[in-house]
Every structure is written in C-alpha cells, then in structure tokens.
Amino acid sequence: MNADKEVLVFELDDKLYAFPISQMKEVIALPPCNIAPMMPPYLLGVINYKNSVLPVYSLEKIFGIEQSKKNSLCLIVNSRLGLLGYAIDAVLGIRSLEKATQIEERVSVLPGELRIVSTVQLAMQEKPVHILNN
C-alpha cells in the first residue's frame, strides 16, 4: 500500500479531516501545553517533545471555532516548518484514498501555513473528508 495514498482521519466539530500518513511522525497523548508569551493566535502552546520545544497548533483556533475541551491526543507532523503538533480529540482510523472520489480540488490556505489541499469522499454515504497538508 502506498503511504501517500493513506490518510489518518480524525473528527473535529462534526467534520472529518485527515493528514497523509507520509507526513505523520506519531500520535502521542497530549502533554500539558505551556503557553508562550505573545504567541501566535493559532497556537495552543508549546510542549517538551523529546527534549526539544515543539509548537502545538489548535485546529479549533485555526478554523475559528470553539476550543474543544476533549483534546487528548497530539498528532506529530513533519511540516515545512519542521516538526509540529496538532491537538485533536480522537483518531477515527487510517483509510486508503484509492477508492476515494474527489469532491473539491480547491486549495485553501489557513493560518500557520496549514492547507486544505482537497476534499474527498472515502465511501458512499460517508461525510466528506478534508485532506490537510502542512
């Protein structure tokens, strides 16, 4: 199975999002976040990840929705800005994109250099999944 064709799907505010598996480093339990002085608005904070300082992005803040109180996991993602984390509630699973149908190709650029690169439907009757890339 091609790693580029697999995505890690998670739910946020009743919508589905996914990161390509090829970008993922690991999923960890979200450690206590330290708030930094005057930090960028899309950050939840910074954490000590393997003895280095890692920023944790809040998807809620990026999408401008109410911050979830159930954030319990942290997706560690390899991005163009280096390693960074996304706080999420729960992972729905790893899914293949091979049989997915593209609904929308429009790329939207969000704060923190996050992008929605496409929106797909993985199976009939399922909610659309927004594929993220960073």
Binding site: P32, N34, P37, V46, S52, V53, P55, L81
Partner: protein, 681 residues
C-alpha cells in the same frame, strides 16, 4: 532522477565530508608551499595522495570532470615527485592554478547535493593544467640539453612525430579585420564536430596574435582523418581565402613552439603577497584512529542523552516519595554516574578543533591581500582550541567579516604605512583564548585604527546618534560601527561592503550568549574581540518569573538585582511617561516585562539591571528564582524574528521538571531600554 542514482545519492554526504577533509589538508599544504616557495618531498607525496583519493571517489560518483581534472593534478605532482627541484622557486607561478583547482573541487563538492546538480565543465582549467605539466616536464630537457649535451639536438617529444596529425594553415583575406577574433570563432565552430588538437598561435587573446595570423596564417593541427571534412567546412567561410595542408611541417612548426615554451622562465620571483603561518605539518601523523560521524547523529545522541537526564530526575522524584530502599538507591546512584559519563562523552563528540576552519581563513586573507594589493602577515594563535560544533558553524562568517574589515579598512597601503613609519607589511593576528567558561576570538591589526571623532561625524551624518556627539564616550563611539546601517567606508569595496556587517556580527554573538568588544587606537591599530560561551547551549543564568513564565538571562550580562523598595528612590518618570532608574551616573530606561508579555502585574516586583555593549538596561519582573545552568533550545519557526523583537526572547529552555522557559537577549533588552524601539512593529 537527478545526476546521481539512488545508491550514489545515499553516498553523497560521505563523499562531501571526505572531500572537505581532503581539501582542507590540500589547502594547508599549498599555503605552506606558498610560504616556503617550495614543497618538500613529503608535502608533494601528501598532495599526490590527497589528489589520488579525490580522484578515486569522484570517479566512483561518476563525476568525470572532477576526476579528469584531479588526474591531471596527480600528473603534475607526479612530475614534481620525480624531481622535487623543478617546483623549487616556481611555486608562485602555479599557485593560482592550485587554488583554482581547490576552488573547483570545493565548489563541486558543495553543489553535488543540489537537486538539479550538473557537472561544471572547466576546459580552460584542464588545458592550463596540461600546459603546466608539459612546461615542467620539458624544463628538465632544457637543463639536460644545456648542461650535458650542449648543442646536441634535444630529442623531439613523441607528440611531434605522430604521423596521424596534419597541419592546416588558414590564410585570411588581407582586408579581414581582427583575424584573431575570426580564428576564435572558427575554432569554436570546428570544435563542435572535430577534435582540434592545437592551434598556433595558441593564445588568441595575446596582443600579437592578430599580427602572427596576418603574416603567417592561422595554423591548426587536426587528425589526418578529419582533414577532408574540415577543409570542406572551411570552404564556406568567407574570410578564409586559402588553406595549406602540410604533414611534413607539423614537426618543425610544433618544435619551434616547444622551444619557445621551454625557454627558461624569465619571471622574477614575486614577493609573497600574503605571508601566512600555518601549523600544518602533515608528517606528524597521530597514531589514533578516527571514524567519521554524521553531525545529525551526534545531535540525536545529544537529544537522547538529554532525555535520559530528564528521566533520571523523574526517577529521583519517584524514589523520594517511596519508602527508603537501599538497592533502589544504589541503582539510582549508579545510573547517575553512568549518565554523567555519557553526557560528558556526548558533549565531547560535539567539540571540534578550530584549526579545521583555519585554511578557509588563510585562504580568504591571501585572496583579499592579492586583490587589494596589500602586503599582509597573517597568523592564527591558539587554533588547537576545541569549540562546540554549534559555535563553530556560526562563528566562521562573523570572524571572516572582522578579518576582512581589518584587511580592507584597517591595514593601510604600503605607501601610507611607510609614511607613518610602520613596516611595509601589515600584520593581522587572530587569537583564540580559552577563559574557562568563555572563549575569546580576537582579531588584532596594526593598521590605521579608528578615530572616535570620525565615527561620530559619520554617525551624525547617518542620523543614528542617540544623543549629542559630545556626550559620547570613546567606547560608545567605537560601538557605533555595530549599529545597523553604519559604515565609514568612503568607498564600498567588494570585500567589506557586502553581506554581513558589524551589526550582524554583534547580533550573532549575542544570539549565542556572547558579546563583542572593540578597542582601537588611531594610528596604532584595532582589536575586535568576540567573547563566546564555550558551550553555546549551556549558559550560567539567573532564572526569574514574569507572569506565568520562567525566564532566564545570562549571569555575565547582569549587574544588580533591586527589590521594589530599593528601587523606589531611584525611579523617576519623564514627561512622556517613560520610567527610568538612576544607576551610577546613568539614567537607565525601565522595561516592565509584564507589559511586554501582556500579563497582569503582581504585588511583587524586582528590578534587574544588566548591560550589553557598554549600555545598561533595566527590566521589571515578578520574582527572582535561582542561579542555574540553562540549556538553550531553539524555538520553533512559528516564533519568528518579529516575535523575538517584541518579546526579547531568543531561545527556549527546558527546565529540570520538563516545563519550558524562555531565554532573553540582553542585546535586545538594551536596545529597547535605550529607546531603540523596533521599527518593524
């Protein structure tokens, strides 16, 4: 797919590391040769071996141009190896060639990792090398002919008796202007399809080449098989009116040329422009064995050992909560002992001798002295000092800039120097000194020095003075050269006028917890010192609290801590609402960090007075904690320069309990305290 296949691409970093190491040996040897104007047989052997290794590795990588060039280099040193007398006294004639080779190898080595890498062709360099090989080869024949068998005809070199070659003489129309330019064009055209072995005159840019072509015709030597097709192709050329073909005369024509070339070199021995002293003694080989390690592996190792330390503190805390257990305690103690050994070794892995950077600096000095026509003696003292690799990576550009400044602005022209009663040869020394927790890099020159009055006048013109010029101390005036946008240079030269300025040097020093000191005496010279922490990651610091955050400042930049009660009598408020604190004879601008960090003020407050570049700053914090060794960690990229300017935070710090603190920059605080509010915000 790029130039390299997947297998080769995987070897690239090893190839680069190996080449860089070899070229550093090579550069050192060449510089030693330049200094002595000759090479010892050991040096020649070492260069030969170096070239041989580069050739082998480059050929494996498929870098044919580099391999061919290096092969020629090997040939040349092979000539010297057979007769070391040949190079004696002739080093300066070939130095540029040696350095051009070095530049090419280093350039290609750096470029191979680029995604769209393609080999850079250097036909002229290869040709020049070939000529040089022949020149030195033939040198002996001349000596032999004159000393042993005078008047006996020297044996003709093999190339001349080759009956597979033909000489074509092209006669140009009498009214043809610039026949040498036409010749260049013709050569270029022919070279596309045929191999032109040689042309006479060979140097078509020489001032007499046009005359030679006009009177004797333009001669080219080609393979016999190509004669017909070449003649046909040239028949269409409007300038060529006649082509002579002559097999027999090849030998004589070329022989004449060879005789010309083998005449004793009349070049006077030019005095060395830059006299560099180097400690490189290749014959002193240590018996220790070494292996190469990838830098990122060392960094990962550092990270892992850091994690172990964090785990240990967790273990220690847990043990303290448990009932006393002798076995567990002794286990924890052993663990700690092993851990100390590990962290010590790992940090030692990250240390490098400064000397490996030396060739680059020597080389820069040599090139600039030559370019600027300055006569310089340059030396490095204490180059065996070991420095942190992180520091090593960041110090070379600032140091090179300071040295360039000395060369360009500091050292006067020989005429100026003799007028001032100084020796014609200027002197620049780079001294490294280990002062315990700090390493000092000092560049001293015996040049014209800097006059505070001139600096102030220039500063006034640029509008960067903060107060009336009369109120500036000498030190403050000298520090002006580190202000952004300051340059007293009357002309912007190709050397100091580019890229990093002294302000960048200062910023880099401060970013790593160091500082810059400028001393200068007009007419006598200048000394610029960079005081850098031995390990730029671990800094002895004071920790304090601002709102919910723990922050750090290096101890050496702090002068005094005042409680709010002690500070009260020293505080005064200006009309614009800005508070300042009387410290000694100075009024120091007060920065309330709670305001900067947009956090609520508490009842407690402490005033910290510190300095950077001879200027004071004062900040208000909530509480003072303790004195610790703070391990600096880079902050993620989303904390950009603007954020850094606003918060004065330059690094993160991971505390012993695993939480994250912030390392402040004395330099940035100083800027704000002294009214230099960041313009970008």
């Amino acid at each position: 797919m790029g130039f390299f296949n997947a297998e080769m691409a995987g070897l690239l970093d090893i190839y680069q590391a190996e080449n860089n190491k070899l070229m550093s040996i090579y550069d050192n040897l060449i510089l030693a040769g330049e200094k002595n104007n000759s090479f010892t047989i050991e040096e020649i052997n070492e260069i030969f071996r170096t070239a041989h290794s580069i050739k082998g590795a480059s050929a494996v990588m498929g870098l044919t141009v580099l391999a061919e060039l290096t092969h020629k280099m090997e040939d040349l040193f092979g000539v010297f190896r057979n007769d070391p007398q040949k190079i004696k006294g002739h080093v300066t004639e070939v130095l540029d060639l040696f350095f051009a080779y070095s530049d090419y190898v280093k350039g290609e080595t750096e470029r191979v990792s680029e995604p769209d890498f393609a080999q850079r062709e250097v036909p002229s360099l290869i040709e020049e090398l070939q000529e040089t090989i022949e020149r030195f080869k033939n040198q002996k024949e001349v000596t032999a002919a004159t000393t042993q068998e005078s008047n006996t005809k020297a044996q003709e070199p093999a190339i001349l008796t080759n009956d597979k070659e033909t000489l074509l003489t092209l006669h140009f129309a009498a009214d043809c202007a610039m026949p040498n330019v036409r010749a260049v064009v013709i050569l270029k055209q022919l070279n596309r399809n045929w191999k032109i072995l040689r042309s006479i005159p060979e140097d078509l840019q020489a001032h007499d080449s046009a005359d030679i072509i006009k009177t004797q015709g333009f001669k080219i030597i080609v393979g016999v098989a190509d004669v017909e097709s070449i003649t046909k192709a040239l028949a269409n050329n409007t300038y060529v009116v006649k082509i002579d073909q002559d097999n027999m005369s090849v030998a004589t024509e070329v022989k004449k040329k060879t005789e010309l070339k083998t005449e004793p070199q009349p070049k006077p021995k030019p005095e060395l422009v830059a006299d560099v002293t180097t400690d490189a003694k290749p014959q002193e080989k240590k018996e220790e064995r070494f292996i190469n390690i990838r830098w990122r592996d060392v960094q990962e190792l550092q990270g892992i050992s850091g994690e172990f330390v964090a785990e240990y503190s967790f273990l220690q805390r847990t043990l303290n909560q448990l009932p006393y257990n002798k076995d567990l305690r002794s286990f924890a103690n052993n663990y700690r002992r092993l851990l100390d050994g590990l962290t010590h070794k790992v940090s030692a892995l990250a240390m490098l001798q400064f000397s490996s950077m030396a060739p680059k600096i020597y080389r820069t000095v040599r090139d600039i002295s030559k370019q600027e026509n300055k006569n310089i003696k340059f030396e490095i003292v204490g180059e065996n000092i070991e420095i942190d690799r992180n520091l090593y990576d960041n110090i070379s550009n600032p140091l090179l800039h300071i040295v360039r400044n000395s060369l360009d602005h500091g050292i006067e022209s020989p005429e100026e120097r003799s007028k001032a009663g100084k020796p014609a040869k200027g002197k620049i020394v780079l001294t490294l000194e280990n002062q315990g927790s700090r390493i000092v890099f000092r560049v001293t020159d015996d040049g014209r020095g800097m006059n505070p009055k001139d600096l102030l006048a220039a500063g006034e013109k640029k509008g960067i003075l903060k107060k009336p010029a009369a109120e500036y101390s000498t030190q403050e005036a000298l520090n002006l050269i580190m202000e952004p946008g300051f340059s007293t240079a009357k002309k912007i030269t190709a050397i100091s006028g580019r890229g990093v300025g002294m302000d960048v040097v200062n910023t880099i020093a401060e970013a790593y917890g160091g500082k810059v000191l400028i001393e200068s005496t007009p007419g006598k010279g200048t000394a610029i010192s960079m005081f850098m922490p031995v390990s730029i990651t671990a800094v002895d610091s004071l920790s304090f609290v601002i709102g919910p955050w723990r922050c750090y400042l290096p101890l050496y930049s702090l002068d005094k801590v005042l409680s709010s009660a002690d500070a009260a009598s020293r505080l005064s408020q200006a009309e614009d609402g800005k508070t300042s604190l009387a410290y000694g004879s100075e009024q120091v601008g007060v920065i309330d960090m709670r305001e900067r960090f947009a956090t609520a003020k508490t009842d407690r407050s402490f005033y910290l007075v510190g300095h950077s570049m001879e200027k004071y700053f004062c900040l208000v914090v909530d509480d003072i904690k303790e004195q610790v060794t703070a391990i600096n960690k880079a902050l993620p990229a989303c904390f950009d320069d603007q954020w850094s300017q606003k918060t004065c935070i330059i690094n993160g710090v991971i505390d012993s309990d695993g939480s994250i603190g912030y390392f402040l920059s004395a330099g940035m605080l100083c800027g704000i305290s002294n009214g230099r509010e960041e313009s970008a915000l």
